[in-house]
Amino acid sequence: MARPNEGHTVTDTRSSTPSPAAVARRAEAARSVPEQVTGASSLVRALEHVGAQVVFGIPGGAILPAYDPLMDSTTVRHILVRHEQGAGHAAEGYASATGKVGVCMATSGPGATNLVTAIADAHMDSVPMVAITGQVASGSIGTDAFQEADIRGITMPVTKHNYLVTDADDIPRVIAEAFHIASTGRPGPVLVDIAKDALQATTTFRWPPRYDLPGYHPVTRPHAKQIREAVKLMAASERPVIYAGGGVIRSGGHAELLRLAELTGIPVVTTLMARGAFPDAHDLHLGMPGMHGSVAAVTGLQRSDLLITIGARFDDRVTGQLASFAPGARVIHADIDPAEISKNRVADVPIVGDARAILAELISAVEAGEGPAAEVVPRRYAAWAATTKGWTQDFPVGYQPHSADALMPQEVIRRIGEIAGPEAVYAAGVGQHQMWAAQFIDYERPHSWLNSGGAGTMGYSVPAAMGAKVGEPDRAVWAIDGDGCFQMTNQELATCVINDIPIKVAIINNSSLGMVRQWQSLFYNERYSNTDLHTSVGNRIPDFVKLAEAYGCVGLRCEHPDDLEATIREAMSINDRPVVIDFVVERDAMVWPMVPAGVSNDAIQVARDTAPVWDREDSEAVEQPEDADQDGK
């Protein structure tokens, strides 16, 4: 039987402020004739209507009823993963690469708890995601029934919102609300836990359902007065920096960011979450701030007199010791989440709203050029911009080769970035390779860099790359992974092979938990307690090439700098199945620059015991060993 209005689905989940007319049109197109169905069918219909195209999941007892109608859906593709954590990160990768809502599904109890890490990860990084879990029958809830877990209670602190549904009639409304909440305001994960009997019960499916969210009103339009105040501060400043965060990417505000920067000539830093929000190649770009940020970005923030903060949250990895962060700067803080404003650093001008809308308003105000806005022009900041550009040139991120024979991880990652190019998508795990991937790949467009920034979840990259490839099948998708991270979720390679998801995985194999090892080198007297993974030095457990082949992937190994180029090019030429490359790299390579934890960003080191010296003309600063700098302090 043909379904009414089949194919008319609500797909525009990115726009946070559709016009009323658009909403009405969409609702009209999607309106369905009420019909009697099971709760499970109602769930699948609802997913179709909200425009979910892909669900990553694993069936099990409690969610089983939902999997039956899912099999017949022509618009919702289900991808069977090998571990629920993989489903969650895949949904995140899909969402981060496409800007749409990612969806994952699991059964009750352990199925649901296996999603928790990915849900928490999505929460920290504001990823729009809907997680659907089966729950034991409503009559059994609270009895410690088989595979029962209070997943709603468990996920309360790590979701934007969550639901327990025990009445089949509520399913369409809850699904519609869940997608609305996940994708509007500050995006985030929403969990919908549905009791098995609600999935089995007969109900009436009507679409669109009426939202029942009296307490949910995200503010998206910035207040005009605050925009004026912001422009006033800009006009009064000499050394402003635009501190752009992940909110710029989530809101789709990258074009506006570029426009504002070019219009004003104000330098820009892009946080770990914002890599790609502003083109790396741009003259005004200072790079990434924070613990492993560039000298130009870190110092630019430290010495600025105004932070124009857009969709960033003053994370401790950016600020270092908070009390000494950007001590001379006034702060404009624009964020869609009012709770972020003045949470860590008090804002002089708070602006609540969608990052893109705020940037657009700032552009209009500057372009109008009235009053103080007339002062906000490139010539005003020209000297400052020249100084920061000088730092960029004097202190590029770099590395010292260990020996001519050693494959340097930074070089591997740099070459992948150069060969795969800015149209590829890069998903990193967590650790040294993640920082190098943030530093050594040039990001020229948004949605090209996926990573676990807030939670720092090892095991993110393979499933996230898988999700990204599903959402962006025409782009090359690279998982830049560590040998430690890879061993946490590599089973999703099976999912990739079976479902024709040809990702490329670069294992930056230093045979250890590299970032922990770096800290042991620097702060624990080179006592390498429990960080040796035996994946390349001494033995190969596992042999990643054989492992890849066992999964049906192409397995490659590269151990010498001379083979680097050919290996990457070979991987790029294979598009019919996933490729896994075991890059056996120098294990003592470290991530620099680095601000040691808990100290001021002024103490940035460009290499071990080597800090930049600033006592000459700023633009002529040179690297010197740290002890040479001690006298001045």
Partner: protein, 170 residues
Amino acid sequence: MTSTKHTLSVLVENKPGVLARISALFSRRGFNIDSLAVGPTEHPEISRMTVVVDVDLLPLEQVTKQLNKLVEVLKVVELDPLSSVTSQVVLVKVRAEASQRSGILETAQMFKAKIVDTTPEAMTLQVYGNSDKISAMLEILQPYGIKELVQSGVVAIGRGPRSITDRSRH
């Protein structure tokens, strides 16, 4: 000494799980709740929580913002102690031998407390009021021997004709 106690009125949807969500928000962020009272309002779909927290102004702002982020929270209002009425009920069971009864009754009268239960050994008093009044009465009752004590949370409401529940409905 300036008090760091703040009274928040939180209007929430009357749905299961909301109390857990709110109390978890406080505990997760390390805010100490002095008192929490929850009950339905004149609108059956809305519950009102009165939360007394002991925090400085900046963390209070964060608490308020975090509360406002919860989807089921309709409104958060801080009540100014000067323009609001607060009340709390206490049931206190005191040792009451025959010789002590008149003293206890006198105390009860003084504080407009009600005797709600009496046995030959003990009396139970019920008193309403703000926390100053209640602690004053308890101080006087202390020497008789307090056997058992239960306090409700504080409830508070703004003075004058304005209603925050009206303002939360749009």
